[in-house]
C-alpha cells in the first residue's frame, strides 16, 4: 500500500496490517462503535442490532456494508487528508461541441454553483442532454486543482459516462471504479464511480456530481446518502442530476437546502406529454377471465392505424403470457411480442422493434437506458401497482415524444385506483410543463 491510496479515503486495515504499515502521519480511525445494544458503523453510518452483528468475545461488525470488506471492531481505517496533489495539463477541456442557448444558460449556472461549492440539483426532463452541461463546471474545477468525482447508482451509467468524459478531458487521467473493476485503485484528479464506491472515500472531493439519483438502489438507501455526504470535503459541493428527484430531494428543495436548476424542455424544445388516467377497477380479475379494458384495446388499435408503434407496460412478468394471449385474440393482424429485463432474447426483440418488425412490445421494465423508440405511444396497465415508483412512472412516460418528427405522443395509464405514485408522477410532469411553458414564452419573446 502506498501513501496515495489513503488520500481522502478510508482504507480498511486488520489489526496486523495496522501495526505493520509504515506511512508517516497516517491517521487510524475506528471502524465501528457500540452504542448500548446497537452497533454504529463509521463507514456507512448505519446502526444495527447486536443480535445480528456480534462476533464471539465481545467483538462486532457491520452487516450493511460488508461487501466492501467487513467493517468490524477487529479492524480499523487508515486515512490521510486529501492534499490535492495534481499536475494540471495545459489544455483541460478538449470538447468542442456546441450547447443550445438553453443548455448554455443552465451550464453557466452549474459552473457558478460548483465554484461556490454549493449543494445543487439539476432537474432536467428525460431527453434534455444533461452530460454536456456539466463540462464547463468540471473544467473550471479541475483548473482550480480540485478533486472531482462523478457517481451514479448504476454501473451501466458509469460505463457509458467514462468514454464521453475521457474524450472531453483527454489530457486528464480518469479513474473508473465499480464493483466489477479488477484494476487496483489509482489516485486521480477525476473519478467516475458507482455511488456504492463512495463509501470508501472520506472528505476527498471538492465537487461531487451524482447522476441518476432517482434510480434504484440509491434513492431509498440511507447508507449511500450518508456516503455521498462523507465523500465530499467539509467545504465541498454536490450536484445531483435527475429527471425525477423523488421525495428526499423534493423535501430538500422545499427547505431551500438545494439550489435547483430546472431544464423543463427537451432538446427539441417541446413539453413532456402528460399522463392520461383511465380507471379499470377490476382489470386483474377481468384479465384472468380473458378480458382487457376495452379502452386499452381501442388505444392500441388507434396507435397502429395511425402508423405508430407503442409500448405496453404491465407490472409483473407472470402477467405477460396472459396479456399476450388476450391480445392475440383481440388483435389478430398485428405483430407483437413480450420482453422483460432478464429475457435472453431481449436485445434481438428490441432491435426488431426498432426495425419496425413489431407493432408493439408488452414489457415489464423500461429496458436499458438509451433504448428509445422515436415516435411511440406509451400505455401502462396497472400503473397503480406498487412495483411502479413515481420515478419509474415518469421515466416510462418520458419514453414518448422523444423525436423531433413527433415530439408529442399519447401516454395513458390504466389503474384500479389512483395511487400516490401515479399522482406524484402526474404532479412532477405538470410542474415541469408549467416551467416549460414560461420558458417557451420567454424564449419566443427574445
Amino acid at each position: 500500500m502506498q501513501k496515495t491510496d489513503f488520500y481522502g479515503r478510508r482504507v480498511l486495515l486488520n489489526a496486523e496490517e495496522a501495526q505493520q504499515i509504515r506511512i508517516p502521519n497516517l491517521e487510524i480511525m475506528p471502524a465501528v462503535k457500540k452504542n448500548g445494544d446497537r452497533i454504529y458503523c463509521y463507514r456507512c453510518g448505519q446502526t444495527s442490532s447486536c443480535d445480528t452483528s456480534h462476533l464471539p468475545n465481545n467483538q462486532y461488525y457491520c452487516p450493511v456494508c460488508f461487501n466492501l470488506g467487513r467493517s468490524s471492531s477487529l479492524a480499523c481505517y487508515g486515512h490521510l487528508a486529501e492534499p490535492n496533489h495534481f499536475t494540471l495539463p495545459t489544455s483541460i477541456l478538449t470538447w468542442s461541441g456546441q450547447l443550445s442557448p438553453l443548455q448554455k444558460r443552465v451550464s453557466q449556472a452549474i459552473d457558478q454553483g460548483m465554484t461556490n461549492h454549493q449543494r445543487q440539483l439539476l432537474w432536467a426532463v428525460t431527453g434534455a442532454g444533461k452530460t454536456e452541461m456539466i463540462f464547463a463546471g468540471i473544467a473550471h474545477a479541475l483548473a482550480r486543482r480540485e478533486r472531482i468525482a462523478i457517481a451514479s447508482p448504476r454501473v451501466d451509467v458509469c460505463l457509458e459516462l467514462f468514454p464521453r468524459l475521457q474524450a472531453a478531458f483527454a489530457n486528464t487521467p480518469i479513474a473508473l471504479l465499480h464493483g466489477r473493476t479488477p484494476e487496483p485503485y489509482q489516485y486521480r484528479q477525476l473519478t467516475i464511480c458507482t455511488t456504492h464506491q463512495l463509501l470508501r472515500f472520506y472528505h476527498a472531493f471538492d465537487n461531487l456530481i451524482v447522476d441518476e439519483v432517482d434510480s434504484f438502489p440509491y434513492a431509498a438507501n440511507q447508507a449511500l446518502l450518508f456516503a455521498t455526504n462523507n465523500a465530499v470535503k467539509k467545504t465541498g459541493g454536490i450536484l445531483f442530476m435527475t429527471a425525477t428527484p423523488g421525495r428526499t430531494l423534493e423535501q430538500q428543495i422545499h427547505r431551500h437546502q438545494l439550489h435547483v436548476h430546472y431544464l423543463p424542455l427537451r432538446y427539441h424544445g417541446h413539453l413532456l406529454p402528460q399522463i392520461k388516467i383511465n380507471l379499470a377497477p377490476r382489470w386483474r380479475k377481468n384479465m384472468e377471465r380473458g378480458l382487457l379494458p376495452l379502452t386499452l384495446i381501442r388505444s392500441i388499435k388507434a396507435t397502429l392505424s395511425a402508423q405508430h408503434q407503442c409500448l405496453l407496460f404491465i407490472p409483473h412478468i407472470d402477467d405477460l403470457p396472459l396479456v399476450e394471449q388476450v391480445l392475440y385474440r383481440q388483435l389478430t393482424n398485428s405483430r407483437f411480442t413480450t420482453v422483460y429485463a432478464a429475457d435472453p432474447q431481449r436485445i434481438e426483440k428490441v432491435q426488431a422493434m426498432r426495425d419496425g418488425d413489431y407493432d408493439f412490445l408488452i414489457t415489464t421494465s423500461i429496458l436499458e437506458r438509451g433504448v428509445t423508440f422515436p415516435e411511440i405511444d406509451v400505455y401502462v396497465l396497472g400503473a397503480d401497482d406498487s412495483v411502479f415508483s413515481s420515478s419509474a412512472l415518469v421515466q416510462i412516460a418520458g419514453r414518448a415524444g422523444r423525436a423531433v418528427t413527433r415530439p408529442t405522443g399519447r401516454v395513458i395509464f390504466w389503474v384500479s385506483a389512483l395511487s400516490r405514485s401515479v399522482n406524484d408522477a402526474r404532479r412532477q410532469i405538470s410542474l415541469m410543463n408549467r416551467k416549460g411553458r414560461c420558458l417557451q414564452r420567454e424564449l419566443s419573446s427574445l
Binding site: A15, E16, P56, Y61, P63, F66, R70, S72, L74
Partner: protein
C-alpha cells in the same frame, strides 16, 4: 424476519395443522427459494460408506480405498449438503466475508444431524490463530453454538490460511497441521469430528490420525458440505 441470504420478507404461512406440530418456525432463517438452491445428501446403499460418494458396485470408492491403504482404516464421513454453487456462495459470505450471522442458516440442521450421532466428545476442526484474530470466529464452532463441545486440537502454524492457494495434489501430501492439546485424555472415547467442507478428506484424516494415535476407540466425522 427477512431471509438471511436474499433479504426477502419471510412469509408466515402457518396453517391450522402446523400450529399443533412441533415445527420450529422461529428457526426459519431462509426463504423457500434460497433453500431450494441447496441440495442435501440422501445416503443410501449405493453410496460410499467412507464419504457418501455414489458407487458403481464397489464396496468403497477409490479415494476412500486410498485412505484405507494409508491409515489402515477409513472414516465414516457424513456430509449433509452437496458443495454446489449455492453452497460456494454461502461459504464465501460466511467464512471469507465474515458474516457471522449466517451461521444461523445451517446451525439448526447441523445440530439436528449431530444429535442423531452417538459420541462421547464433539470436536470441531480448529482455525489458525491468525484467521481467528482477523475473522473473529471459527466457522465450525458457529454451527455448534449452545452445544457442549471440546476443542482438543490446535493448528500448529498458519497452515490452513495457505491451504486455499494450494492445488489438490499439494494438499494431499501436506504435513500434519494440528496437534493434540496437552493433558487431553481420549483413550477409549468415541469422537465426532466436525468440519465445514470436506474437499479431499485431507484435513479430517489429519485430525483423525492424531486421535487414533492417542487411543480413541472410534472417530466419526461430519461436514456441512462435500
Amino acid at each position: 424476519m427477512n431471509c438471511l441470504l436474499c433479504n426477502c420478507q419471510l412469509s408466515m404461512r402457518l396453517c391450522i395443522t402446523e400450529l399443533f406440530l412441533p415445527i420450529d418456525h422461529q428457526r426459519e432463517t431462509v426463504c423457500d427459494a434460497c433453500r431450494a438452491r441447496f441440495s442435501a445428501y440422501h445416503l443410501s446403499k449405493q453410496c460410499c460408506p467412507g464419504c457418501g460418494h455414489p458407487l458403481n458396485g464397489e464396496l468403497l470408492c477409490s479415494e476412500c480405498q486410498a485412505w484405507k491403504n494409508n491409515y489402515g482404516q477409513f472414516l465414516h464421513h457424513r456430509p449433509l449438503f452437496h458443495y454446489n454453487e449455492a453452497m460456494a456462495e454461502y461459504m464465501s459470505l460466511y467464512k471469507f466475508q465474515g458474516l457471522y450471522q449466517l451461521r444461523m442458516v445451517f446451525q439448526h440442521v447441523v445440530q439436528m444431524a449431530i444429535k442423531q450421532e452417538e459420541y462421547d466428545l464433539l470436536v470441531p476442526i480448529p482455525v489458525s490463530p491468525t484467521t481467528l484474530r482477523t475473522r473473529g470466529f471459527n466457522q465450525v464452532e458457529g454451527f455448534l453454538e449452545g452445544m457442549q463441545f471440546h476443542q482438543l486440537l490446535t493448528t500448529i502454524d498458519d497452515h490452513k490460511a495457505r491451504q486455499s492457494a494450494r492445488t489438490r495434489q499439494e494438499r494431499l501430501v501436506s504435513q500434519q497441521p494440528f496437534q493434540l492439546n496437552n493433558n487431553v485424555r481420549v483413550t477409549g472415547q468415541h469422537i465426532l469430528l466436525v468440519d465445514d467442507v470436506y474437499t479431499t478428506g485431507r484435513t479430517l484424516y489429519h485430525a483423525a490420525d492424531l486421535l487414533w494415535q492417542a487411543g480413541c476407540q472410534r472417530v466419526k466425522t461430519l461436514s456441512l458440505a462435500r
